[in-house]
Amino acid sequence: MVRGDDLRDVFGALHAADDADLGFDVSDVVRAGERVRRGRRAAAAAGSGFATAAAVVVAIVLLPGERSPTPVPPAGPATGTTTSTPAPSADPAPPVDPAPPVDPAPSTTPPGVPAPSSGPPLDVPPASSGDGPDEGHPPIAPEGEPRADPS
């Protein structure tokens, strides 16, 4: 019958009989550790350098540059003129609405009376709606014509 306590006794007895020397010492472990650390540092440096170079190459290849398909001729001699452009205003002017077509002759027709569409204004009597301010005035005859006698 093997019980845990028996096993503990056996382990203890075996430990007491364990007198073999250790085959390595702490300096071996530290040296190996430093070697591993150096290797890791070198791998990290090489990896980051490779990643940076790859990123630069990809950027050069993929990003659109200022390259034009036709060669650009060299610039001519400088003329010596300088132009000055006003600096853009910090507060730009409000946008101007497109102006509606403006009638060159301002209408003098009082409100409520439709404006004449064409022809001399004096030939066309104003529409007598019956409620305008000119109601009751006789029509004005053109000059040179006999005035019609109402009677």
Binding site: M1, V2, R3, G4, D5, D6, L7, R8, D9, V10, F11, G12, A13, L14, H15, A16, A17, D18, A20, L22, G23, F24, D25, V26, D28, V29, V30, A32, G33, V36, R37
Partner: protein, 176 residues
């Protein structure tokens, strides 16, 4: 902690625990060359982990955990490679009778699967609780219980009723 301080602390811990860890590995592996490989690899991992990782659970517990896990990993690798490391050539003469008894014990221990053997060593040599053993092995408490029972049963099958005589023989041999 600087590298210099860590080197000093590591050296002190090595001097304090290297032999006992080597014996733990010896119980696990069953031969000194493999045990020394496991312990050296464990100390190297501890050195590289630095003080931060070791502080979390204590240097001893952390190192014990590394030893056991390194042993189990190596056993998986050995099984994969289908190679078997042996400490000494089997044809060497063994003049000491107590050594013969120990060989019988080591063979019995060696017949127990690696994980069950690790449970037996942690539970009955390091006197770890079920919870601490489970933490060291990275498994559940129920797994520790079942693996420990199976390991003891395997030893019982292997040694049978002659275990008490072997035990007494080993104790006499250790007292010489």
């Amino acid at each position: 902690m600087t590298d210099l301080n860590w080197n000093v602390e590591f050296a002190e811990h090595f001097a304090r625990s290297a032999r006992s860890m080597r014996f733990t590995a010896y119980l696990l592996c069953g031969n000194y060359p493999e045990a020394e490989d496991v312990v050296q690899s464990a100390f190297l991992k501890l050195y590289l982990a630095g003080p931060g990782a070791a502080r979390r659970e204590g240097l001893d517990a952390y190192l014990r955990q590394i030893v056991v896990r390194t042993f189990i990993t190596e056993r998986r690798r050995v099984r994969w490679r289908r190679e078997r490391l042996v400490g000494d050539p089997p044809e060497l003469p063994e003049p000491d009778p107590s050594t013969e008894v120990r060989i019988v014990l080591w063979q019995a221990l060696g017949s127990v699967p690696a994980r069950q053997r690790a449970v037996l060593v942690l539970r009955y040599w390091h006197d770890l609780s079920l919870e601490d053993t489970a933490a060291a092995l990275g498994c559940s408490v129920g797994t520790v219980k079942s693996q420990g029972n199976r390991g003891l049963a395997a030893l019982r099958r292997r040694l049978g009723p002659g275990f008490d005589e072997l035990r007494m023989e080993v104790r006499r041999g250790a007292g010489r």
